[in-house]
């Protein structure tokens, strides 16, 4: 099956490869510029040429006050992303398991949740901040900000979870029940471990989408900035390569997060063998 009669690659293959290489250059070329410039020397500016090499701009990030509140906003964004990921996993897993049994109104709730994916992000933020205002509440990154982000992470998480649970064979649960497991034992000992790769995927989605969120958060974060907001503020205020140092650090963090998540999924899948998820 691996090879077919036509041994040569068609010309379309090379066009395609070229498009992808262009894409990678377009995306990673500029990013590479940022990574390089983040090691700009102490007296260097925002563009080439490099004026020596140093890690000074990284040091500046952790010193409060020098380049805005990078350390604080990073902590807030990490905490927010973590809380959003945990809530997304908890709610999506519970919803995925609970909504397998149909009930009146399930379809309406489902469509309302999915529809929130296509609501313009800026307006979701505007609406929530307006709602808080009407109720006389103060917007805060961990309250209204978290809520606004959940309107974005939950629908994605649900889509993934429904896909994962659609392939879950209910006879695993029935077998556990037949062998004397209580509802809680079934969930803990059988269902959740089998769904684990999908759950990690949902957590990854929740974390990444929250960590990177801008449009929904900007009007709902209140007085303290999350990292993307802080960076946005820096792009207009800060004129030192510290801005690029932030880029390098957040990219590394993103890669570590996605690498860990995908790596553990791959590990679990390999351990269980290929053919298990399909039935």
């Amino acid at each position: 099956m691996q090879t077919t009669a036509s041994g040569n690659r068609p010309w379309t293959f090379y066009v395609l490869a070229a498009v992808f290489i262009l894409f990678v250059i377009f995306l990673y070329g500029p990013m590479t510029v940022i990574y390089i410039l983040s090691f700009q020397g102490p007296n260097g500016g925002l563009t080439f040429p490099m004026n020596g090499v140093s890690t000074q701009w990284f040091h500046e990030l952790v010193e409060p006050g020098r380049s805005g509140d990078i350390a604080g906003s990073f902590q807030r964004s990490m905490l927010l992303a973590f809380v959003a990921a945990v809530l997304t996993v908890a709610i999506c897993v519970a919803a995925g398991l609970g909504f397998r049994r149909r009930f009146p109104g399930a379809a309406i709730i489902f469509y309302l949740v999915i529809a929130s994916l296509v609501m313009p992000g800026i307006f979701v933020g505007l609406g929530i901040s307006l709602g808080f205002q009407l109720l006389g509440l103060q917007t805060d990154w961990l309250i209204s900000g978290l809520g606004a982000q959940l309107t974005w992470t939950l629908p994605f998480g649900l889509l993934v979870m429904f896909a994962v649970i659609g392939r879950f064979n209910r006879s695993y649960e029935e077998a556990a029940r037949d062998l004397g497991a209580t509802a809680w034992q079934r969930t803990r000992e059988v269902t959740l471990p089998i769904l684990l790769p999908g759950i990690i995927g949902v957590a990854l989605f929740g974390f990444t989408l929250s960590y990177d969120e801008f449009a929904r958060t900007v009007l709902t974060a209140g007085s303290e900035n999350t990292l993307p907001l802080e960076i946005w503020a820096m792009t207009t205020n800060v004129t030192s390569p510290a801005l690029f140092a932030v880029g390098t650090v957040t990219t590394i963090i993103s890669f570590v997060v996605i690498g860990t998540a995908l790596g553990s999924i791959a590990l679990i899948q390999r351990r269980r063998g290929r053919n298990v998820t399909s039935h």
Partner: protein, 386 residues
């Protein structure tokens, strides 16, 4: 750990199961008794309700009406674990994230047994199914046949009095299927507990079961020993489904010497021994005839079979070599499949090819009257005359 294996007799008392209000019931006022220690097969096409019955006995479904008794006790609304039954699922449902040993020990873990205890017992069962060497593997690392044996060990660890098997052989390839069905029968004999095995394959049911229950549309068509089902199917449905016999039918012309002489749709005459049954002249009756009791010989195409009795004229429609016999399907002109299984050494003396005109005949004593009747009808000829 090992609870005594109580009485594993099953009584299904007037059970109905309807999934949706207003829909056809999946199981319809069904009664069934299965003796303790017997091997029972529920046999029927998909959608006939056989799996629903199994699941109601297991406690994974609740009857809409009626009762399920196990060992004489009403268990209709009890949880599976309280019933002393165990179920083996169609695709085995082995937990993919647990080792073979932990899969087998699962039920004991749920009952709070210590790790040492449950592993010791699980190893003992793995030894019985000759898989002790695979204890630390994951299910995905086993072949289909090995997975089936792990599922068997896992189900048996609580010493159930009834084992419920949902299409236990359907996930295996043909070769393993033949091998494992003998093994299932052996295990049942050894343990002496009740096995209830759901299948849609006639040969599988007849091969393993003491009692075969043939079902159609939520009802039992016949429940009898495997031998009886094969030799004495009750009606045309069972005869056709089991497949080793032909169905003959005709309108009774006269009754003579304890037999009915009936005229078939093509005008041939058949003799059906009545064995005391009452039939009326004009009534449509049905008979069964073993395929391996039919003799086939070449026919002069000019010969009219009208005045022959217990013989059909036809053409060979299909020939299938089955190794030790040859299956000849003969087109006798009335739409019902008519098959003769001819011993290979007889057939290959003078092989008859597709399309050849033949005469199929049989001894009268091989025909058995079926229960189906259809009232006398005005024939086309009568209608035309009227």
């Amino acid at each position: 750990m090992s609870a005594p294996t109580g009485n594993g007799s099953i009584e299904v008392v007037s059970v109905t199961k309807t999934y949706h209000a207003g829909a056809m019931p999946a199981v319809d006022r069904l009664d069934l008794r299965i003796d303790h220690g017997s091997y029972c097969c529920l046999l029927g096409p998909s959608g006939c309700g056989k799996t629903t019955i199994l699941r109601m006995i297991a406690g994974h479904e609740v009857p809409t009406e009626g009762d399920i008794l196990i060992g004489g006790r009403n268990m209709t609304n009890l949880q599976p674990v309280e019933r002393g039954t165990a179920m083996m699922f169609q695709s085995y449902a082995l937990f993919p994230h647990r080792s073979v040993l932990d899969n087998v020990a699962f039920a004991l873990k749920m009952r709070g047994a210590s790790k040492a205890d449950r592993h010791a017992k699980a190893r003992e069962l793995l030894q019985k199914v000759h898989l002790e060497a695979f204890a630390n593997r994951l299910p995905a690392q086993l072949s289909g046949g090995q997975q089936q044996r792990v599922a068997l060990a896992r189900a048996l660890i609580t010493n159930p009095r009834v084992l419920l098997l949902d299409e236990p052989l359907s996930a295996l390839d043909e070769y393993l299927r033949l091998q494992m069905r003998g093994e299932l029968r052996r295990v049942q004999r050894e343990l002496g507990i009740t096995f209830i095995h759901v299948t849609h394959t006639q040969l599988e049911a007849i091969a393993v079961a003491d009692t075969v229950v043939v079902m159609a549309q939520g009802k039992i068509e016949q429940a009898a020993s495997a031998r009886d089902i094969f030799l004495n199917p009750r009606n045309a449905y069972v005869t056709r489904f089991i497949g080793g016999q032909n169905v003959l039918s005709g309108a009774v012309e006269r009754i003579a010497g304890g037999s009915a002489i009936a005229v078939t749709g093509t005008g041939a005459r058949i003799e059906v021994p009545l064995n005391g049954a009452q039939v009326a002249v004009g009534e449509q009756i049905f008979g069964s005839l073993r395929r391996d009791r039919v003799a086939v010989r070449r026919r002069d195409p000019a010969l009219s079979p009208k005045d022959m009795i217990n013989a059909f004229a036809g053409e060979v429609h299909a020939i299938e070599n089955q190794g030790s016999y040859v299956k000849m399907t003969i087109d006798v002109g009335d739409g019902e499949e008519f098959v003769a299984n001819v011993l290979d050494e007889d057939y290959f003396v003078d092989p008859i090819d597709i399309g050849a005109p033949v005469l199929a005949s049989w001894p009268v004593r091989e025909v058995r009257l079926l229960e189906d009747r259809r009232p006398a009808q005005r024939t086309d000829a009568m209608a035309a005359a009227a």
